[in-house]
């Protein structure tokens, strides 16, 4: 083959490999109900909910450089919006959710009332997190708060949210949160067949989120986001307002977390402040860091892997898990700042280079082989661990 032909097939392979991999993984997930026991399927469904959050984190942190330590807040807002609706459904018209009866609340609080409407609750599951993110984003990004300051701020938000939830026992169920869900839009959550259907909904939601993030990443908007991550001040002098771009991205990632929370509630059957506090928010982030925040697939894979590992190790000894997780996080930050996906990409590049040096004549040279010599700064200018806080 001549060089241009090879380059053309290479490009073709590059364009097809992604979608094929996506389809294969999607089919695997869709086939899972036939392969796993109901118990394991429930767990996988839970992991997939976290993977939806991970896609949003990869977008905000990996692409946009916004280290968000409070993603649990948006997850929780979506979850509570859904949980409130399900509780009201169970209580029936005029009835009170069980925990309100226990805490001596006599009539339904006004803030709960509209959530009886399923459309309202569904919309709120996404719109509430988006609204909070837009308000916070405009406030914070306009003032050019970024890096570690933004990270600390988002974490403080998670802490405040938990305090609010725990403090309002009669309104939110306090530390116990919302529990005992049996029905989800006509599905019986104790029936394995119905649960399978719910699982499929979660898979579809993850697929949709993934595709949205993928499209965003490859659009001009995505390039702009990378540009802002690497040189926010320069972007300003290209005539763009970074605050607007960052706020939109942050809001999209918040909406994704909200959707995940809304699906988590029926999937797992409960939602408490422990699911969305500082520790939970960090766990979401650790999965993305380990999988690789610059890659959507890496983020999804990392979320699944870390949560699976958590289940496995917690089944044996709950205490050891937290140490292992910390060790994994540190190891990744030191030896693979771009996560497992980064390691994979490096490995592929190495193989390609080996192959090229072995047959240096014509065959594997890409079309651009006639490039004029350029200064060889490392092409993959991999962000260093010290940039974590950006």
């Amino acid at each position: 083959m001549t060089a241009p032909q090879v380059a053309a097939t290479g490009r073709w392979r590059g364009r097809v490999a992604g979608p094929v991999l996506f389809l294969v993984v999607a089919l695997l997930f869709l086939a899972a109900p036939n392969l796993l026991s109901p118990f394991r399927l429930d767990l996988l469904g839970k992991y997939l909910c976290f993977a939806i959050v991970a896609v949003g984190i990869a977008l905000a942190w990996g692409r946009g450089g916004m280290l968000t330590l409070g993603q649990g807040v948006f997850f929780g807002l979506g979850g509570y919006a859904m949980g409130m609706h399900l509780k009201l459904r169970e209580a029936g018209p005029g009835g009170l959710p069980d925990f309100m009866v226990w805490s001596g609340v006599e009539s339904l609080p006004a803030i709960w009332r509209p959530f009886a409407n399923p459309v309202f609750a569904l919309a709120m599951a996404v719109l509430l997190p988006v609204t909070v993110a837009v308000l916070l984003g405009l406030l914070v990004f306009r003032q050019r708060v970024r890096g570690a300051y933004f990270a600390v701020l988002s974490q403080a938000l998670a802490a405040a949210f938990v305090i609010l939830l725990v403090g309002q026992q009669g309104l939110t169920g306090g530390t116990n949160g919302l529990t005992n869900f049996q029905f989800f839009f006509g599905l019986d959550l104790y029936d394995p067949a119905d649960k399978r259907l719910l699982y499929l909904v979660v898979v579809l939601a993850l697929g949709a989120t993934f595709l949205i993030a993928w499209q965003l990443g490859h659009s001009r908007f995505g390039k702009l986001l990378v540009a802002i991550r690497d040189g926010e001040d320069r972007v300003r002098f290209l005539g763009y307002d970074p605050a607007v771009v960052k706020t939109i991205t942050f809001a999209i990632s918040a909406g994704m977390a909200g959707l995940a929370g809304a699906l988590f509630v029926p999937m797992v059957g409960l939602l408490s402040p422990a699911n969305l506090g500082i520790v939970a928010s960090l766990e979401l982030l650790v999965g993305v860091a380990i999988g690789g925040r610059y890659s959507l697939a890496g983020a999804v894979g990392g979320a699944l892997l870390v949560n699976y590992a958590k289940t496995v190790f917690s089944e044996e000894s709950a205490d050891n898990w937290i140490y292992l997780q910390g060790a994994m996080f540190i190891a990744v930050m030191i030896w693979a700042p771009r996560g497992l996906a980064g390691l994979l990409a490096d490995g592929r590049a190495l193989v390609r280079r080996r192959r090229r040096t072995r047959s240096p004549v014509t065959s594997d040279q890409p079309a651009g082989a006639a490039d004029p010599p350029v200064a060889t700064t490392p092409a993959a200018s991999a962000p260093e661990p010290s940039e974590v806080a950006r």
Partner: protein, 255 residues
């Protein structure tokens, strides 16, 4: 010629230090103006004020009749004022083409940005050709040499079609052939735009400058052609720290 940029009574202080004092400065449309002066003269500060990066203590900057002081940076860019920085900042992870495309797309509505780039617009292709980066279009900008980065930056400015370009030391740290190339690029750009260039390099100045403004300690020292400016005793004093008389005496002694 019509006035394009008009700076009046400008004062800039940095916690007590007066970076610019009562500066009046005017540039007409179509000019290629060089701005020189020793370190700390206020050259970069002046550009920072024009582009909204630094807020002045007092004074006004009008561009084409519009007041620029108090506007946010990206708004000023949208009015048609573009700039480069002393240290070039290109987006290293994006390709050369993507860098230019992003610069060229800044007037598109946000919704249109959500679509993927399908082809290369004419102006981007033209900028690639002008800057001599066509062969490198698909390479990440991180692999470019120092000179190529500066050209890419100038290209990114030009595709934005600004009416006024501000270049901060475009040939600093460049090799001789790179300087030559940059000078030609500059002349090409200056044909269609109004350009203000901060430059230290005297040889470069002699070759390419038409009008020169000399700043010293935040004030405008003098203005004129290169020859006029070089003959001005005040300029010599600023640059050499002595009057010409003293300098010639010094040379005689040494000889």
């Amino acid at each position: 010629m019509t006035e394009l940029l008009r700076v009046r009574g400008l004062n800039v202080t940095f916690s007590g230090f007066r970076a610019i004092t009562d500066l009046d400065f005017t540039v007409s449309a179509g000019e290629l103006r060089f701005l020189i002066g020793p370190n700390g003269a206020g050259k970069t500060t002046l550009i920072d004020v024009i582009t909204g990066l630094t807020k002045p203590a007092s004074g006004s900057v009008t561009f084409d009749g519009t007041e620029l002081v108090g506007r946010r940076e990206h708004r000023i860019v949208r009015l048609g004022v573009g700039r480069t920085f002393q240290t070039s900042v290109v987006f290293e992870e994006l390709s050369v083409l993507e860098n230019l495309d992003l610069a060229a797309s800044f007037r598109r509505p946000l919704g249109a940005l959500l679509r993927r780039r399908r082809d290369t617009s004419d102006e981007v292709a033209e900028a690639l050709a002008t800057t001599g980066l066509t062969a490198l279009a698909d390479r990440p900008a991180g692999v470019l040499s120092h000179g190529q980065r500066q050209w890419l930056e100038i290209g990114m400015l030009v595709v934005q079609r600004p009416s006024l370009l501000l270049l901060d030391e475009p040939v600093a740290g460049m090799s001789r052939p790179e300087r030559e190339r940059t000078g030609e690029l500059l002349q090409e750009v200056a044909r269609e735009h109004t350009v203000i260039v901060i430059e230290h390099d005297m040889e470069f100045l002699r070759r390419f400058a038409s009008t020169v403004s000399v700043l010293h300690e935040g004030r405008l020292l003098c203005e004129g052609t290169v020859a006029q400016v070089q003959a001005d005793p005040r300029v010599q004093e600023v640059y050499l720290g002595r009057t010409r008389k003293e300098s010639t005496e010094l040379i005689k002694e040494a000889g």
